[in-house]
């Protein structure tokens, strides 16, 4: 399989960030209290990364993929339990896109990808803890299964 270029990998990460922001809109309304606050903070983190990527890709003259009106969710979000499960999955999926950007980047760009991978993997673990899901961790965060 051909190694994607840094621009392609970051474009894919941006599309994943769009989808994560959309998902958190559906997740937040099913939560209350501390988990709701945590969802708001998570959504803000994904928005920040989205904004950074849009600037980064357009400055580099690359293709900035457009956001879409909606994204397919892997399962319906109908209550607290399904919202927490989706939050853990969103973090794990977004982490996977940043992990995929590691090979094609170096220096500050790789540091940026690693920071996102670590942050999202830790947040996935926190969501599993809140949801009472086990195991709390996966052996290789972000690795395709």
């Amino acid at each position: 399989m051909r190694q994607p270029s840094a621009g392609e990998a970051l474009s894919a990460a941006l599309s994943a960030e769009y989808a994560a922001i959309y998902a958190y809109g559906r997740i937040g309304v099913r939560l209350t209290g501390a988990p709701r606050d945590a969802a708001r903070q998570a959504e803000a983190a994904h928005r920040n990364r989205r904004d950074t990527l849009v600037v980064q890709l357009s400055t580099a003259g690359g293709v900035v993929p457009p956001d879409r009106a909606g994204y397919a969710l892997p399962f319906p979000v109908t209550d607290r339990a399904s919202a927490l499960r989706l939050a853990a999955e969103v973090e794990e999926r977004t982490a996977a896109h940043w992990r995929a950007a590691l090979a094609s980047t170096t220096g500050a760009d790789r540091d940026q990808a690693l920071a996102a991978l670590v942050e999202y993997a830790v947040r996935a673990t926190r969501w599993r803890k809140t949801a009472g899901l086990t195991p709390l961790t996966v052996p290789f965060p972000g690795r395709p299964t």
Binding site: Q3, A95, R99, A100, L102, A103, S104, T105, R110, D111, A113, L114, L117, V118, A121, V122, A124, T125, R126, K129, P135, L136, T137, V138, P139, F140, P141, G142, R143
Partner: protein, 111 residues
């Protein structure tokens, strides 16, 4: 990095033996470190050391102290994995990134 991962696995096993109540929590993390060592040895092209790495220190007598010591080990190990990922050739960067992230999630799971 291979030795470090095996040392972490050994530290978890020693703590699980000293504190059987923690075994369910520590077991999967010990297995993750062993899996990291195995995968690293495979991509580097070296044999996995056959001698079992010793835990760096004896686990604390109280469970909370043992967990705190493991968190400190993971934090140090996360830093060395971060440096290794930054310096890695393209073909190893993703694996080292996953190992860095795993060590961060272990600290969260031990809280």
């Amino acid at each position: 990095m291979v030795d470090e991962a095996l040392g972490l696995a050994a530290a978890y096993k020693a703590s699980a033996t000293a504190h059987p109540d923690l075994a369910d929590r520590l077991g999967p993390i010990a297995e993750a470190h062993t899996a990291h060592a195995t995968e690293l040895a495979r991509v580097i092209g070296v044999a996995l050391p056959s001698t079992v790495a010793a835990a760096p220190t004896d686990p604390a007598n109280d469970p909370a102290g043992a967990l705190a010591a493991l968190r400190r080990l993971e934090k140090t190990a996360q830093q060395s994995a971060t440096a290794a990922c930054a310096a890695a050739p393209a073909e190893r960067a993703a694996l080292l990134g996953s190992i860095t992230a795993a060590r961060a999630t272990h600290q969260e799971a031990l809280k």
